[in-house]
Subunit: 214 residues, 4 copies
DNA sequence: TATGAATGAGTATTCATTCAT
DNA sequence: TATGAATGAATACTCATTCAT
């Protein structure tokens, strides 16, 4: 048992160090931007030498991936928390959609990473197939409240997924506009536009729900 | 006349080579991604030495600019052509929105550049302030049919702009999903989703128009 | 004779063009500095294409050489003009030495070239052996008034050459100090130092002359 | 102690490598000239890859700086050592002046750098303002024995500085002649000319000293 | 004689990654 | 586990020179 206990202990220590490096990486990404964040910079921030990082992550891209995983975990949590108290499905839809939007709108750092995530497919960024699958799953999970709300209003599975995909697309599009500041050419607040979208869909939901009740 | 003819000929040849380099650049951007597209890579693809490129373009950014210019020109043209025969405003809205979507959906090469265009502000990609302003203007122009249709249905200027911005955002979001292939997790066709969005907005337009008529 | 006349004419035209290019080169060297003066820049200034320059000069270094030749020609002239009216040898010595100094002190452009000339031997700058010999000869000629003055005071050939070499060295050293602005650390005027040197040597000359007379 | 010993050892090794790179740099500067001495060339000479150099020096200019620093340190030392035993001021003047001359005359490698040093101001070679100021100060220090000797003979501060500046200029001019081999046209030994200059000034010093004594 | 096109070697610096210790 | 050293490829851009036309 001693050996096993020791192994466990070192494992735990290793895991902690890993997370400390990730935290350092996030700090560097935040302050320097994605492009400027070199392995050396991350290592320095974490109090390590560049080479040491490779004991915890096989590559720079792996660090990106790990941060993304954590990011999307927070996203799921954030969306779920937003709908926890709401009962009416159309309300749940609205809250979930806006929570998704707000999550990225509030923190530009996350947004940058989010686009890296969404844009990850454009070119192979070095994210492994499994990691990518995991990201997809998490993404779906973050949108689960949205599609569930649709189901509750009587939409079929296909329609529910369409609702989720559309809400996602709309949010992402507006976030892009906001982030690139091209929203300025419209002289409009992206948050307001997102609310308008959520509400107009919610009204459709309501209509459905009533029909169902009848 | 001989001199002029000769000058004209060499000018034409030079222009052709310029466009061949641009085509090569597009190919490289497509296959390697924007970040990886170095002058050397472009030159290699075009069958040139790196230095030779500078005979045709003063800088790498100038190449970006030339491609973007041409791209957005085609976009504007494409959207305008789509609505040319439509009379009813709600129809014009639908056609314009879908044309915008289709333009990028059809050619992934353009889409990549489109994201560069839309995303140009995320990080400084070296686009000059004026070039950026020009892009914004062109972008607005490409969406003009959309907002004009809204005006014709009785929406005020603010609302019309909101319509354009939302349509733009929705299209961009779906294109992102399509391009990154994350749309797969929804098992839906992005084109269909775009149509649904366009139609649902068009219906709202129709309601307005009737009200107005009354 | 016609053929010969024609050849002569084209020869003259060619020579003229050569000198026009040299003038352009001087202008570029002046405004851009030695490092920045590229063949292309010179060609542009002269209204030519880079390639055309090679019909008149075999290399960039050859242009340097030609400018140096002309420069040193003006130097010789300048020194000779300075002593033309002086009769007494010690006066001739002073005037010649100061003229040498002033020639470079007055025009920083010439000075830059002068150092290029003097420094030409440090590394092979592409000046041909003959060109270099010609430069040496011209240099000696520019110092001829100095050594001749010494001879007239009764110094032997060796001593006369030593006078010339020393005056040359002193002038060059001061010019270097002036040009690099390191003279500032001494808080002294280089021209004044040069005068002091010339005078102190002139006094020695005077002593000799008198001795001789006796 | 082991840790400390190890750290010390690696530190020493690192320092050695640094000095080997500097030596290689000096060799390259000598054989290729300052302009042609690229980081790559230095690295090659030192048996390194270009990138590896940056492990030891932050920039090319830092290499220049390090070499200059060391060079001028040796110069000051050399001049001071030369006068250490001499008592009479005119003798100190002669010894210091000749030591200054000899320092550069003996090692052409140093001379090249010396010209870089003295000539640093001609064109911006990338020397920082502070580095330049430090060089000026060191330069003055190397000439201190010269001006002090003058003061001891009764010259005032201005005159003493003039003596130093003149000696410096004369030495530099002769070194330039020697180095460029243009001294050949005078068929004289530069060392002899330097001795003559030093002696003639020393005689003037002597006169002054006696006057003072009286 | 002159052009326009093209080359190829060159510049300093950065960085992800590897590996002996 | 961690370091320090090292690599090699990459970056945009410049320039003297050559050559077919």
């Amino acid at each position: 048992m001693t050996i096993s206990a020791k192994a466990e202990r070192t494992e735990a220590v290793s895991e902690l160090k890993r997370s400390l490096i990730l935290a350092a990486a996030r700090r560097v990404f935040e302050s320097e931007g994605l492009d400027r964040a070199s392995i050396r910079a991350i290592a320095r921030e974490a109090g390590y030498t560049a080479g040491a990082i490779y004991f915890y992550f096989p590559s720079k891209e792996a660090i990106y991936g790990a941060i993304l995983q954590e990011l999307i975990g927070r996203l799921v949590e954030s969306v779920e928390r937003a709908v926890v108290d709401a009962k009416k499905p159309e309300q749940r839809f609205q809250l979930a959609t806006l929570a998704f939007f707000d999550f990225f709108a509030e923190d530009p750092r996350d947004l940058d990473f989010g686009f890296y995530l969404f844009g990850g497919g454009m070119r192979p960024h070095g994210i492994s197939r499994e990691a990518d699958a995991a990201l997809n799953e998490s993404l779906l999970r973050s949108l689960a409240p949205v599609s569930e709300a649709a189901r509750q209003c009587g939409f079929d599975a296909d329609e529910a997924r369409a609702c989720a995909a559309s809400a996602f697309a709309h949010a992402v599009g507006l976030l892009l506009l906001k982030h690139t500041r091209r929203i300025r050419i419209f002289a409009l607040e992206p948050r307001v536009l997102m609310e308008m979208y959520a509400q107009s869909v919610a009204i459709q939901f309501e209509g459905r729900c009533k029909t169902m009740a009848v």
